[in-house]
């Protein structure tokens, strides 16, 4: 029997949803563990600490998965440590790959974010307006520290070299199974690629108009938001006026949002050959808007286009933050 593949998981600025997607493999994970040995999984699953990773010899881990975006100086440090310890590094999930929803916080100043989070929410009781500090001296002798807040959100590849990318918020567990299968059988694409089936969400979507006998070009003649009504469950959302990013998003999810009547918002990452997700989304959606009135309607319905088109991808964009 060949030696087991040593894998590690590291959560940076994320919600651990991507790691739930690994746990969601259920029986498949049990089978996979015949070929895999988990040597590090922090801070979520295993009882290991950061300094256990720092103590490992370089290139000890065969495949490391990092999920979550870079928000704190601690994330930068741990990403660099993991890069040294891992032969192959995977940006796992859209936060690590493109920045994720938290990337939209780069459209706000630190003061805006902190005052919202620590002062102005109705459930917050903070009369002195105290913000978290990087250093705090307790009883005159205990010097406690917290990680410091970076000025913007970064993607993993803005800090270290990344070998592969996996999209999704979180990645669909079916796709995680495919990715782990590819890792175990060592059938991987060239370095720097996304691990993907290479198809758009529309390609795997049951509502695709070409599956329902429609030929010609879908033009959007009105724009609706989900609060404006309940879309028909069988017809393409774009045909009904609900803006969907299926045409430009990788469909490794199998179009799951579309099966529950929800438009795609692009967590799967851009289809191959596209660098700037939001700009491409804007361009593609604009080209199927019927006329200027429809465009005006879209801008009226969606008040902040940066947050609309770059929902998961702002830190990876050409302009990664508000100027």
């Amino acid at each position: 029997m060949t030696e087991k593949l040593k894998v590690g998981f590291l959560l940076l600025g994320g919600c651990a949803g991507c790691e739930m997607a690994v746990v969601d493999l259920s029986e498949k994970l049990v089978d996979a563990l015949a070929h895999l040995e988990v040597v590090f999984w922090a801070p979520t699953v295993a009882d290991v600490k950061y300094n256990d990773l720092e103590a490992m010899e370089d290139n000890f881990i065969d495949v490391a998965f990092i999920d979550g975006m870079i928000r704190l100086d601690e994330h930068i440090h741990m990403a660099k440590v993991m890069r040294k310890k891992a032969k192959t590094l995977i940006a796992f999930g859209v936060c690590a790959a493109l920045g994720g929803t938290a990337g939209m916080s780069s459209l706000h100043t630190k003061e805006e974010l902190f005052s919202k989070a620590f002062k102005n929410t109705p459930t917050t009781d903070n009369p002195d307006g105290i913000y978290p500090q990087a250093h705090c001296l307790v009883d005159g002798k205990y010097n406690l520290t917290l990680p410091t807040y970076e000025d913007k959100v970064r993607t993993l590849n803005q800090i270290v070299d990344v070998d592969y990318y996996i999209g999704g918020c979180p990645p669909h567990h079916g796709h995680v199974a495919v990715a782990i299968g590819a890792l175990v059988s060592r059938q991987l694409p060239p370095k720097g690629s996304w691990i993907t089936n290479g198809k758009a969400v529309c390609d795997v979507c049951k509502r695709n108009p070409t599956r329902n006998g429609f030929s010609g070009r879908v033009m959007v003649d009105k724009v609706l938001r989900m609060v404006d009504g309940v879309p028909d469950e069988h017809i393409c959302l774009l045909q009904q006026g609900y803006i969907c990013f299926g045409p430009i998003t990788q469909g490794d999810c199998g179009g799951s949002c579309l099966t529950v009547n929800t438009p795609c918002r692009g967590c799967g990452g851009p289809i191959p050959g596209n660098e700037d997700y939001g700009a491409q989304a804007l361009s593609s959606i604009a080209s199927i808007l019927d006329n200027e009135d429809t465009t005006a309607m879209l801008m009226e319905k969606y008040s902040n286009l940066a947050k609309f088109f770059y929902r998961y991808a702002l830190p990876s964009g050409t302009l990664p933050r508000k100027m």
Binding site: L282, T294, T295, L305, A306, F309, L319, M323
Partner: protein, 138 residues
């Protein structure tokens, strides 16, 4: 030293680029602030190009196409209009002054108009000052 803005211009080869040519033939006077890039159609200009120009420190970006009804490809400029309307709003949401971006319809017969647009745009950009991103010309 006074501030001379740096404008990146994308000009459709059938109308605006020919208009710029005519401005030269007519000896129209306009400030030497625009770097013109010829494109097959204004509908070919990807939003990435404009964002990239701003990210690299261009003080203003101009996209020039044919008037409606004149497009060599029939409806290329209608696509431009939809795309650039959205883009202008996106640029504003990203914290730029939307006046740094202009969409103009200039035909091959409008050399005077080309010179006038560049003159006006340059004056407006001087009033706005350099692109807040570094690299904006001093």
């Amino acid at each position: 030293m006074s501030f001379s803005p740096n404008i990146v211009g994308f000009a459709c080869q059938w109308c605006t680029y020919a208009g710029a040519d005519l401005a030269g033939n007519l000896r129209c006077k306009y400030p030497p602030t625009v770097k013109l890039i010829k494109v097959p159609c204004s509908g070919r200009v990807k939003p990435e190009y404009i964002l990239e120009a701003l990210a690299q420190g261009a003080d203003g970006v101009l996209v020039g196409g044919c008037h409606f009804g004149d497009c060599h490809y029939k409806d290329g400029n209608h696509k431009t209009k939809n795309r650039m309307d959205l883009l202008k709003k996106l640029i504003e949401d990203m914290g730029f002054d939307p006046r740094r971006f202009r969409l103009e319809w200039i035909s091959g017969a409008e050399g005077q108009k080309f010179a006038q647009v560049i003159t006006e745009f340059t004056e407006e950009l001087i009033a706005l000052g350099p692109n807040p991103l570094k690299g904006g010309k001093e």
